[in-house]
Symmetry: C2
Subunit: 222 residues, 2 copies
């Protein structure tokens, strides 16, 4: 009768197809590494998965391979090409476009897994984030600068090239939105506003503020 009173739930061995198991390990690894960083041990990860440690190595021959799979799943092809169109669609008010874009963007990045793994990878590795920042600058920041010029009837880039301050103003908005995720998922402190309020506030402030900036820079409506 003591057999059923064992301390462990006993979790009998369960077989899955290679595809399923591979996926299960990857999903678990994302959650585990997001919490513990890439220095979390494969033994602990296995325990977290409810599986023995050598099994992980059956599907990912080295820890490095597993980490690469985590990177790919989280960051590769997560930039939706439709977002570019949203920003440039001048049939809509610019504020609406920016809110729309950042709402979709935040649906991707404002998760504990994404933010934390992104920072961990930035701190450890650097290639991924070094590649990511220029992508953001090219596809978002720069585009916002251009649209802000147009929305305020300011000269186009062919007349006057983008100034550092214009770039940084967008980066500041962008960084502020990113940082909201850091406060929530890294520091884990209460935030006073919802994501919608955050985006609305950041976009409103930017659009209003960039006019003052343009004035300060001596840009005049054309």
């Amino acid at each position: 009768m003591a057999e059923e009173l064992d301390t462990k739930p006993k979790a009998k061995r369960q077989r899955f197809s290679p595809e399923e198991r591979r996926r299960m390990i990857l999903e678990g690894a994302i959650e585990f590494f997001a919490e513990n960083g890439f220095d979390g041990s494969t033994h602990q990860l296995a325990h977290f998965l409810g599986v023995t440690q050598p099994l992980i190595y059956k599907y990912y021959p080295t820890k490095e391979d597993l980490i690469d799979a985590v990177y790919e799943d989280l960051f590769q092809n997560r930039w939706n090409d439709e977002w570019d169109g949203i920003l440039s669609d001048r049939s809509r008010p610019i504020k609406e476009r920016l809110v729309d874009f950042y709402t979709r963007y935040c649906e991707v990045i404002h998760s504990p897994d994404w933010i934390r793994v992104f920072l961990y990878s930035g701190l450890k590795n650097m290639e991924i984030n070094q590649r990511y920042a220029p992508l953001v600058e090219e596809r978002a920041i720069r585009r916002v600068c251009i649209e802000a010029r147009d929305a305020n009837n300011l000269p186009g880039l062919d007349k006057i090239p983008l100034a550092n301050e214009e770039f940084e103003a967008v980066w500041t908005m962008h960084g502020g939105i990113f940082y909201y995720g850091v406060r929530r998922f890294v520091y884990r402190v209460p935030v006073s506003a919802s994501t919608d309020e955050l985006i609305n506030g950041a976009v409103t402030t930017y659009l209003e503020g960039v006019q003052g900036l343009a004035r300060q820079m001596g840009l005049t409506a054309s």
Copy 2:
């Protein structure tokens, strides 16, 4: 004659006073942990210091103790009380005050050591950052909100309490300024603006933008 041709510089044993050595180890640990995270091994740290690993344990009985010392040196008492006065000094234009404050603040936080250790500690631990965020909110964010109300002749807090959007607008500026450090010292990508340009841009945009926000919220000049 082969003795002088040894591969190692031979670096003969050097004695320092306990205070000096303790300091040397701490400084090295900050740099080392900032680069490698707190999972960097004490063996590697010793090598980095040009010292044997047990020596570290003579001065810091456990790795935890050393890490705590790193925290304390970087984050404890780094908030200068004079900063509070700068923000609240209504004899100066608000823009000048904000620029002044953030210039000094950035002198502290915009260093690879500070930014990286702060993020590492946030990701691993959380107590420190959980304590730090409310400090910033109380002594900076909130104060900026109040001063922005005053500078725009808007009702005081006794009339109308601070709205989430007002708070978030400042947090966005603040986060944007922080994120500039992340781009430089974590992602290690080129940034287009200098720290001065960044601060000027962020502050200008915020001050201009918060007026639009107030308008949107229905706050009227009194």
